[in-house]
Symmetry: C2
Subunit: 429 residues, 2 copies
């Protein structure tokens, strides 16, 4: 980037962050009812502005079509009245959730009489870096406002016009409620450098959350100097144990692979204990194939399947074990033991969601305690890793790191805490 | 660094991290009694190895003396039997604390019958980057082992021989207990690049905690690609309000500035409301001067003090407001209002510990809710920001960031959590 333009971009971003910080100071003392009013007003403003939003969105969609984007990507980008209603419903639902801010997390009485309280507070300024879905704009703003955080949004180029129109409406909603509209800062500059500036703004951004493909997430994690939460990449396994109920195993792998293959909590690899592989693989693989799943098997599973006359099974390469297909593709591996399954998951998993299917309590406990992942399942589908399924009422993403938040992140995970100490002149001896 | 040597260092660090990861898998399922036994055995091993440790330490001390290091730095480095006893007591005390691992943090019953439990688990592999104090080696190992984490230690060059001897003893203690000794990895290579390799080992290090001066901490925060907790830098303020009890204010600023000026929770700036400055500053400044405190005043305070005949007060420059002196130096500023005090703290504070002295409940609430810091105090000294004072029984550092942990960090703050989901074949509809 040419240096004059870079300096100008720096000023542009610094200005956004300064306004966000100022708004965050107002939000930190905003009452729950004021924040809920803001959410309601933003929902109404989306409806009032729907024509403008849809017109802007049509321009984005047309540009993506002209650029030859695949239909799945265009579908993610597209808005209609139904989707605007869904975004509005999201805001109203968040308004109905309990406000985590102000919650007393702990109370300690010091022997000298001081009262020490640990109280939940907003994080401050949260930057969201995301890609093509314009609904992320509205979702993120709703969750940030509810938790008293200022939001700095950097969406993808494809959705720029849609996002600008959405943010205009959201600003109007905030203004109508009395919350400073600068609590939402939208970065219209979609060059790569605007991301770099946001994620290195030490002291100005309290948290950055990337949402999108693995390329985006990895870039943010590697280059961020501000605190970051790694979200999303899920190379999830279903392990069918020697003591598995194979009917449950069939339901679970079918659901985990096919119910919505494009999401991070879908299964990518099926691990099968050698004692059940011979009988079960020739049953399950044709079943999955009928549902459109392409299987890539290890040597042992290929031999079993070929003996059983199953065709259309490809040989898995080493790359398959670490691939998040996000598609109707499933890697299959026969393992010698529970230990071997755990070792495979340890080597290739992404700490997201891991499943054991077994009727053995001992095997289950071993798997659940030893497998290092945000969510570990015994006899249930990995597809449940989701803030709504966990009863949080909202979700900003699924964390695959261990610092601060793990697994589905709801409102609580967007907060920090502070200690409030009340004394009567106490000093340290 | 020459590339052959760099490659060799990379291999050296990768090897340490591989062993740490393997140990962390054993530690994650280690019982509380096994971990406590390890702590006891390590304490005994320190005593058994004391002669070797003290001999090694004498070499370090002599080298530092020859290099002309200041006495304060040599004191930090020096060990004797009493200090070895203190380190042993630390390990034994940690053994007596509750084990946070396995604690059930939440339980959710899904409408479909699945039981979702949120359970505290170790972080995994924790890297500590620190400077001259060899006791950090023992403290960090004790806290890591108790919380089921493998520890990768990178201490300073000055304490290298002492640390090697300490780690040798700690390894013997671990072996005697049955915990794999590779749970403690000590990095003997003290070149700067070994730090760079540790803090960029994405997927191999779950958390890095820097402890030391602001230069070290800033470098780690800026260059880390693995999750990091920023610790320690404290530019703390005491604000004396218009409604202050000036006797309390005197006790508090005296304690916060002079009881132990070299630590991060000591006060660096005194803010005084203009309504009390005229009468109080000529009283408090000579009192502090008698205790050896050098005052650097704003224009207004200088005028007041000169009128009152106080000498030896220097003029503060802009730099003073952002300086963590860690010494018997105090910046003094007269402010027009509570708002002005909060603004000053917002601009110059480091989110560590901030104090208001007032008898006005309204002013206190305003300050406590609006000042963004890990610990906010009403009528008490900032010196209480400490894991032991907060009743944690231990402390790995004081966090000045908002992600994950804030303020004093004890055992709980060295853990993560996972969700354990128990089903009976549930799939998502």
């Amino acid at each position: 980037m040419e240096s004059g333009r870079h300096a100008e971009l720096e000023t542009y971003i610094a200005d956004k962050l300064k306004h966000a910080r100022r708004a965050s100071r107002a939000l930190v003392v905003a009452s729950t009812s004021l924040k809920n009013e803001a959410l309601q007003q933003m929902a109404e403003a989306l409806w009032d502005g729907r024509e403008e939003i849809l017109a802007a969105n049509q321009q984005d969609v047309r540009a993506s079509e002209m650029a030859g984007q695949p239909p799945s990507r265009i579908d993610r980008l597209m808005l209609d009245e139904h989707r605007i209603r869904q975004m509005m419903d999201g805001l109203v639902q968040v308004a109905q959730l309990d406000d985590p801010v102000g919650e007393r997390l702990d109370a300690i009485l010091h022997p000298n009489g001081m009262r020490i309280e640990k109280v939940r507070v907003p994080m401050g300024v949260i930057a969201m870096i995301y890609e093509s879905r314009p609904n992320v704009t509205v979702d993120a703003v709703g969750l940030c406002i509810k938790t008293g955080n200022a939001a700095v949004l950097r969406g993808g180029r494809e959705a720029l016009r849609s996002n600008i129109a959405l943010v205009r409406a959201l600003h109007q909603g905030l203004e109508a409620s009395g919350v400073p509209s600068e609590a939402i800062q939208f970065v219209e500059r979609v060059e790569r450098e605007s991301v770099d500036l946001l994620i290195t703004a030490v002291g100005l951004v309290d948290l950055v959350i990337p949402r999108g493909g693995s390329g985006l997430i990895e870039r943010v994690v590697r280059h961020a100097q501000v605190p970051v939460i790694e979200t999303g990449v899920g190379n999830c396994h279903v392990y069918v144990d020697t003591a598995a109920d194979l009917a449950k195993a069939r339901e679970i792998i079918t659901n985990a692979k096919t119910q919505r293959p494009s999401v991070c909590n879908a299964a990518e690899t099926l691990l099968v204990h050698k004692s059940v592989a011979g009988a079960w693989l020739p049953e399950i693989v044709p079943h999955l194939a009928q549902l459109g799943v392409q299987v890539r098997g290890c040597e042992q599973s290929l031999a079993i399947l070929q003996d059983a006359g199953c065709r259309n099974v490809l040989a898995a390469t080493d790359e398959d074990w670490s691939t998040e297909y996000l598609d109707l593709v499933l890697a299959v591996k026969v393992v010698d033991s529970l230990d071997a399954a755990i070792e495979h998951i340890t080597e290739y998993g992404t700490l997201h969601s891991e499943v054991i299917v077994t009727e053995s309590e001992e095997a289950a406990v071993d798997f659940l305690s030893r497998v290092d992942a945000a969510v570990v399942y015994h006899n249930a589908s990995s597809r449940f890793t989701d803030g709504f399924e966990f009863g949080f009422g909202a979700e900003i993403g699924i964390s695959t790191q261990k610092l601060h938040a793990r697994g589905p992140m709801g409102l609580r995970e967007m907060t920090s805490y502070k200690y409030i100490v009340r004394g009567d002149g106490q000093v340290r001896g």
